[in-house]
Amino acid sequence: MLKGIHQQLDPHESPAFFIQGPRPFSRLMFFCALSLVMMAIDARFDYLSQVRQWFSAALHPLEIVASAPNEWGRNINTYFTSHNQLIQENFKLKQQGLIDNAALQRLATVDAENVHLRTLLSGDAPIIPKATLGEVMHMGRDPFSNIITLNRGSRHDITPGQAVVDEQGVVGQITRVYPFTSEVTLITDKKLSIPIQIERNQLRAIAFGEGKRNTLDIPYLPTSVDIKVGDKLVTSGIDGVYPAGLAVAVVTQIKQSQDSPFAKIVSRPIAGVNNHKHVLILKIPESPAINPVTDNKPVLPRNNAQHLDQSVVDVLQKNNAAVDPHPVTELPSLDSTDTDPAAVNAITPPASTQTNNGSTNTATPNSTSPPNSQAPTAPERP
């Protein structure tokens, strides 16, 4: 049946050349321009983060619906855990508890000793970070990025920059926070770097993620550096984000090539991100009130070990100024600490004499070791 133009046509009945409204090409141009502008704004400015927050809050009910089947599956699985299995697990946990308790007894003594020594050297009390338990919701929907999503968000006082650990070591860092969820960038991501220390000799370095290969790279260490396959890397704590002493990775491969002054050091992360359901989100330690006098000075990284290291490095710098062709450049504000009365107080006479000995010991026989490696080792050698 043919309808006239004066009659009302249903949209699906109208002839094909009427149905599209604006031409597809002009529509395409409009939406392309819109998305390009959005990408530029999202990449360069911070305006769209609020929009993202609202949308994600609106999507949250759908997200719950979507993850419901998984939840049920897990609950059913838990329900049917056999009696035998529970007994076995209970036994194992009791054993583990016993071992841990024995270790904790030693820890109490060591802790007391540590506090005592710190007060002697007028350092800060060690910071014990508070933590929130988070649950891994999914491993990221984007095949391009190393991100996991946790079920804790800004409603639970999570802020970007917090460190995320599991019981074995560092998992990553919170990079984006939504009202009910948050995104964790894994330490293996290319964009993330983490300050580390070799546990064996306290050598400091920075580890960079290598992306898809799930490894960490430690660049800029000379070929003569004292590092072995199997060395454990722990956080050094100088950034004030990761508390010192968390396990990060194990060195798996060291390649030394003739044409490069740097060794290629590959390490494998310790924390099993794919295996765990629960992780801990550590609070960023509150920055201690640094001297009110030094208002115009740049605030140094907040860390308990920082004050101690600084005074040591200060003394070292003075001593090595004549010997060392490469002065320590990673702490540019150190020169001004001479005038700071608190920093001078921090260098107690026994500490400075110790570091004097330590620095001469390490610097003279082994001139190839990098200058920054001397700083942490110095106070360890009496």
Binding site: E13, Q20, L62, N70
Partner: protein
Amino acid sequence: MKPVKFSTFFFTLLVGLVFQLYPWSNSGVIIRPDFLLVIALYWLLQAPYHCNIGWVWFAGLLVDLATGSLLGQHALTFSITAFLGLIYQRRLVLFNRWQLHLYLIFLFGMQRILIMLLKLFAGSEMPDWTYGLPIISDLILWQIMIVWFGELSRPKKL
């Protein structure tokens, strides 16, 4: 062929979004089809009076929000793919199955290549060959859509 209700169109998009939000594991992400792209593209060709480039663009925006990638990346590629589909819409509904599937492979592949280019510009790494696998699952999803909502309807002879 009965006209498609707007509610049907909207509801399928919503279901696609839920599937997109499902917590896919690592191996699941490798074979996961682009639910919203396939569903929106189907309706674009089947019911152009409901779904236009704007809707496909919006679906892409939802994918951006779900994946947490740069806002507008998927929206841009979705709208370009939709345009490439829409300019051949009259011919596509007349194509036989194999011709149509070849063109769909081109469309889905195009979208993945565009996304890859955008990500490479942003400094991501080159993905390996499994990156192309979702095209197959996209085609399977297209078959499911056809089973539920019928083959692409040819225009009525006036």
